[in-house]
């Protein structure tokens, strides 16, 4: 069945409804309106710039830009010429740019980018760090948009089954994997998810999300391009400082949907001081995604914004991943999200039993049922499907799966077998609804970004004064911020000054990963607990830390 191509859909919107607004782009307290005709023209300008540089079919184009409409144009322009674009994060002010770029060396060797689109300052730093190892670059400049364009259209060449982009959203740079997505998978998932949500031509999205993350890229940007709907795009950096600007945007533009990770709900509540109200009555759903979703976060959000028109029925949950384009499951709109108060003892043994009223319980939030075209299975370690309410590994199959990791066949074979993707998440199904309970590996999700404990440990281990290898990075719940925080436990050599070492560990992790660890505990040599096999145990040391004995 033909689903249409992304360039074809872009052209159709620009031809049939040229003046319809694709995006209200908000930056520095000013708004710019981008119509579908504007979007198409500017994307073609990029396509022309690529063609002149010999960039075409199958070439990887990395788009590494701050909040700017050029993000959309550079990306779609690459799709128009049959190239394979990928959004990539740019260095944050706290990251050291030489470390940032050196960290990209290994990734570039694998993916061999044909062109990097970025801004001047970033490209200068890249050239200084990488020299000849850097791919050709293109500076995103408004002058590029003003050039004369040939009249011919060249977006028709892309086949529906072709890989049209890479998603590099998981892990820090050295471990990044390029998730290959076909045109058919993207358009198919966006359409199926829209049907599930009842998302129609009148709906619109408000977003502060960065586009290098699948939630910003697919749920917001691709949805608006494929369906021809309105997107309000806020600057992620501005949003962090003034999170209630999302509510301002929803009120002003009468937006009907927004996707946000769990921490964002709490961040907004923390900044909504006094009894200020917003008119949020246009909202059909605020969808919690990309981090473990918590019942108490929803309760606090609903309580704070009840006078703004928010009801618990508008707060929803989605389970999503780039390897399935985006949504796997979604809670049913129209009602509240199902919750299970699980007996903690049974739960710790991998079984889910409803706690008796008044008993201590673990509150679990449903992620809903699979969207059309997607299948979910829970399996045990041997690969056998387990019964309902038994915790196991989550596998995803169906029509929207990725085509593998770009130029990483061994990694692809590990995770993608017989049409099923092993997600690395743990969970269970109850009455057909998926509940996600944790991770198989050491991935830690901090403010919507994924980090691996072993990466943080490797960086800390290199710091002078730390006993090499005697380091543990753990994730703890920061109840006040309602977010996961990283704590690093390090054994410090007897001849080193603890205060200097702990500070140096913070600096090293921040400069290398852009990650602010919440605290660093300096311990005497020998304090960290090993497993019977001689490895340092994250789990046991985490338990000791939480008891207060490793601080």
């Amino acid at each position: 069945m033909s689903v249409g191509t992304i360039p074809g859909l872009l052209r159709a919107h620009a031809t049939e409804r040229p003046d319809a607004t694709f995006c209200t782009f908000v930056a520095n307290a000013t708004s710019q309106t981008i119509s579908f005709a504007d979007l198409e023209r500017a994307s073609r300008a990029y396509a022309e710039a690529y063609r002149r540089r010999g960039v075409g079919r199958g070439d990887v184009v990395l788009v590494m830009l701050k909040h700017s409409p050029h993000l959309f144009y550079a990306y779609l322009g690459a799709m128009l010429v049959g190239a394979i674009p990928s959004f990539m994060p740019f260095p944050t002010p706290k990251q050291r740019s030489d470390l940032f770029w050196n960290d990209h060396r290994a990734l570039f060797e694998v993916i061999q980018p044909r062109l990097i689109v970025s801004y001047d300052e970033n490209l200068r730093a890249a050239a200084a760090a990488l020299g000849d190892a850097l791919a050709p670059t293109l500076c995103a400049d408004d002058a590029l948009l003003r050039e004369e364009l040939p009249t011919g259209w060249f977006g028709d060449a892309v086949g529906e089954g072709e890989v049209v982009c890479l998603q590099h959203s998981s892990g820090t740079t050295g471990l990044k994997k390029g998730v290959m997505l076909t045109n058919r998978a993207i358009v198919g998932e966006v359409s199926a998810y829209a049907r599930r949500l009842g998302f129609g031509a009148e709906d619109s999205i408000a977003s502060w999300l960065p586009l290098y993350h699948d939630m910003g890229f697919v749920a917001c940007f691709m949805t608006s391009v494929v369906l021809g709907t309105h997107l309000v795009a806020l600057d992620p950096f501005e949003w962090v400082m003034r999170p209630t600007m999302l509510l301002d945007a929803i009120e002003t533009h009468r937006s009907t949907f927004a996707w946000l990770p769990n921490f964002a709900f709490s961040h907004i509540v923390a900044h909504a001081r006094g009894d200020r109200r917003w008119d949020l009555s246009s909202l059909r759903a605020l969808i919690n995604c990309s981090e473990p979703c918590k019942a108490h976060t929803f309760d606090r959000f609903a309580a704070r914004f009840a006078t703004s028109g928010i009801t618990p029925e508008q707060l929803h949950v989605c389970y999503a991943m780039a390897e399935n384009v985006f949504a796997v499951t979604q809670s049913e709109l129209g009602g509240g999200v199902r919750r299970i108060d699980a007996d903690p003892i049974a739960f710790s043994r991998g079984r889910v039993r409803q706690a008796e009223p008044g008993e201590r319980a673990v509150a679990l939030l449903s992620c809903g049922t699979a969207i059309e075209g997607v299948r979910v299975e829970i399996r045990d370690e041997s690969g056998k499907v387990v019964p309902e309410r038994a915790v196991g590994d989550i596998y995803v199959g169906g029509s929207f799966l990725f085509d593998g990791y770009y130029r990483r066949p061994e990694l692809t074979a590990e995770r993608l077998r017989d049409g099923w993707y092993r997600t690395g998440d743990r969970g269970f199904v109850a009455a057909g609804e998926l509940f996600v309970t944790g991770r198989v590996d050491d991935m830690l999700i901090v403010n919507g970004r994924n980090y691996y404990a072993h990466e943080v440990e490797a960086i800390a281990s290199e710091v002078a004064g730390v006993v090499p290898g005697r380091v543990v990075a753990i994730g703890i719940e920061d109840e006040r911020a309602d977010a996961t925080a990283i704590v690093v436990l390090v054994e410090v050599r007897a001849d080193a000054e603890s205060a200097l070492v702990t500070r140096a560990v913070r600096v090293a992790v921040l400069e290398a990963l852009g990650l602010a660890v919440q605290s660093v505990s300096a311990l005497e040599p020998g304090r960290l607990i090993k497993t019977t096999s001689g490895k340092i145990s994250r789990e046991k040391n985490r338990a000791l830390y939480l008891q207060g004995s490793l601080r």
Partner: protein
Amino acid sequence: MTEAEVLARVRAVMIETFRLTDDAVVTRATTSLDVDGWDSLSHALLIMNVEEAFGTELPLERTYELADVGELVDLLRDAVARTDVR
């Protein structure tokens, strides 16, 4: 307001925002690396709290990249001076 007065008030807001002990040492040279839990989200909370404490609004673009407490103190003194003139 003198620099010392601004610093003292910023210190009080930091103690509240980051739940520091009452004897926490905060100087102009203090940075996010010296304070447990000072990340980009709590930084936003700190800025909102100092704005409330000083009854002023800081220019958004200047608040992202403050290198240390000293720069925050200078930014606040400028903002308070502007507010007084108005």
